[in-house]
């Protein structure tokens, strides 16, 4: 197993960032999904050894996250969320430098820096000063420095933040290419559902420091809930109250459309029964195709 953690706890003072987090991931690309402040970055920082968990244990690529960080970091590539670089340097020197710090011989690091910069699409700009790079170029540069020592596992923290749509697609394509048959395992942290859906097979959903769901995306989408879209006439509060007592979750869109998440044990005819009891007219009723977004909305909450 490439990554397992058990009962991780971490607090920033009184604020619980991770609360009894346990997860296990196999090879391939996995997504770490959650709203802002869910604990994704904290989890990655614990896995890298930047933060020490107050409770719990974990192993990454067979190494203990508490006691074998040095060995572990040799095999990991990390692309942080923040814009980070060293001023006054060009991309080749920058990338080769981090290769050397990872333990590559100087010449090899330089050679490899050229290769990865071409791979991420910065081949032509590799001798330009980093101070002159655009946001998209810096994002690709961060990916290059994470790849330079040919890691076995790549932690990508919000890799598409601050990117325009075109830049986003380009970076995601690179990550997708890395995830497909390159032998590199990827943990992609993002709050953007479509990014995770595009690249990953597995997903771990965090909310308020807790794991609320994990598994294969395709399985989660087929999980034990169904989504219906309804248009109704009448006082909906009472109707929604009764439905929530049955375990249904409801989301009302701006244009008055009611999205209803039904648990597996609740039959669709219950919706009509409750509508009849509460004097509601159902004007539109359609089963909707569930997406990761819907699942996310269900597990994280639709408030």
């Amino acid at each position: 197993m490439s990554l397992t953690v058990q009962n991780l706890h971490f607090s920033y003072g009184p604020i619980k960032a991770l609360d009894d987090v346990s997860l296990s991931l196999e090879g391939g690309a996995a997504g770490l999904l959650g709203p802002n402040g869910a604990g994704k970055t904290t989890l990655i920082k614990i896995l890298l050894g930047f933060l020490r968990p107050q409770k719990g244990e974990g192993r990454v690529l067979g190494y203990d996250i508490r006691s074998e960080q040095k060995k572990l970091r040799r095999l990991i590539g990390y692309m942080p969320e923040d814009d980070c670089f060293l001023p006054g340097m060009d991309a080749v020197t920058f990338t080769a430098f981090f290769g050397e710090l990872a333990g590559m011989p100087k010449q090899e690091a330089m050679k490899r820096a050229h290769e990865v910069l071409f791979y991420v699409g910065l081949g032509e700009a590799r001798y330009r000063l980093l101070d002159t790079y655009s946001a998209g170029m810096r994002q690709r540069l961060k990916l290059a420095q994470a790849l330079v020592h040919d890691p076995k596992l790549l932690f990508l923290d919000e890799p598409t933040s601050n990117l325009d749509p075109q830049g986003r697609v380009e970076v995601l394509e690179l990550i997708k290419d890395l995830a497909n048959g390159k032998g590199i395992q990827i943990l992609l942290s993002s709050h953007i559902l479509s990014d995770i859906e595009m690249v990953c097979e597995d997903v771990v959903i965090l909310n308020r420091g807790k794991v609320v769901a994990q598994g294969k995306i395709k399985d989660l989408k087929r999980m034990n809930f169904r989504l219906y879209e309804l248009k109704i006439k009448g006082e909906r509060e009472k109707w929604l109250d009764k439905l929530s007592q049955l375990g249904c979750l409801a989301e009302v869109t701006e244009d008055g459309l009611v999205k209803l998440y039904l648990p597996g044990e609740v039959e669709p005819k219950e919706i009509f029964k409750v509508a009849y009891q509460t004097g509601i007219q159902i004007r539109h009723f359609r089963q909707s195709q569930s997406s990761l977004e819907d699942f996310f909305a269900q597990v994280v909450g639709v408030d």
Binding site: L48, L51, R74, Y78, F85, M89, F97, A102, R112, E173
Partner: protein, 289 residues
């Protein structure tokens, strides 16, 4: 599709470095020498060394330079421990060292804070002490090249010009004094610069602070001394403390009428506080509670 080449694996073997800090030092030295005004400043710092070598030459050819002497002896031309103390604890050398710290040291940590580079360093098999050693070695390079290196050259020139080992026989401990005091000076400047570099994310502010703290400590001493006439006030001045310690290291009469131990304790206390602050400040993550 933006890829120009496909991804290839690296077939080499990652190795454990004996000195993991060395790439950091090398890179920062390279970056320092790339700075616009740094090279002239660094070259200018060797000016006293040049004059001292000329003085050694004159001291050995004193008969040829009699015309320069009026009445008694010319102290400068006498190569003794005081000669080395004058060089290694000279006002001009200290001033140039501070100037070098402004150019080459201010951004060492401040730039890493500003451009969020610390997580990149610490995501490598690098410990905090490796990172700090790498940065401190940059400062050590500049301080040692302006202290130990010229001082050893002075000894070699003295031996060459005199053609005998009398100097070394008279002062067998001089090399140790030079090395010991230079290392102390290096240690002080490492703590001084790294501490101030940790104070701000803006290397320009740090440059100003490095310069200002050094000058201000001296001005404050002069100001307070004129008021209170208390020699112990010299402990406020960085320069005077270092000179006091130098007097002890070279067995020369101290300029201030108190023991060198006090100055040593003041500098050590400063380094201790600075070290504590640096260690607390350098971390891979900003933890906001």
């Amino acid at each position: 599709m933006i890829r120009e080449h496909g991804y290839t694996h690296w077939d080499g073997q990652l190795r454990e470095r004996r000195f993991p800090w060395w790439p950091i030092t090398r890179l920062n030295l390279k970056l320092a020498f790339r700075k616009k005004h740094f090279r002239p400043v660094y070259a200018l710092s060797f000016l006293p060394a040049f004059f001292f070598i000329v003085a050694i030459y004159i001291s050995e050819r004193i008969e040829d330079f009699r015309f320069m002497m009026r009445g008694g002896r010319l102290i400068l031309f006498e190569v003794n421990p005081s000669f080395f103390k004058n060089y290694l604890a000279g006002d001009f050398l200290f001033f140039m060292l501070v100037l070098i710290m402004v150019f080459a040291g201010a951004g060492l940590v401040a730039d890493d804070f500003r451009f969020n580079a610390l997580p990149l360093y610490f995501s490598r098999p690098l410990r905090k002490k490796d990172y700090l050693l790498g940065k401190a070695a940059v400062i050590a390079f500049f301080v040692l090249t302006l202290t130990v290196f010229p001082a050893i050259i002075f000894i070699i020139f003295k031996l060459l010009f005199s053609g005998s080992f009398v100097f070394l026989r008279n002062y067998p401990w001089i090399s140790l004094s030079i090395i010991g005091y230079s290392l102390f000076l290096t240690l002080f400047f490492c703590f001084y610069t790294l501490f101030l570099s940790c104070l701000s994310r803006n290397s320009r502010y740090v440059s100003v602070i490095i310069f200002a703290v050094y000058l201000f400590s001296d001005f404050l001493y002069v100001f307070l001394y004129n008021w209170f006439r208390q020699p112990l006030l010299a402990l406020i001045s960085i320069k005077l403390n270092l000179q006091q310690i130098a007097s002890f290291a070279f067995g020369v009469k101290a300029a201030q009428p108190f023991s060198w131990i006090w100055s040593f304790l003041v500098i050590c206390a400063f380094c201790g506080v600075a070290g504590y602050f640096i260690i607390r400040k350098i971390r891979a993550v900003e933890v906001i509670r």
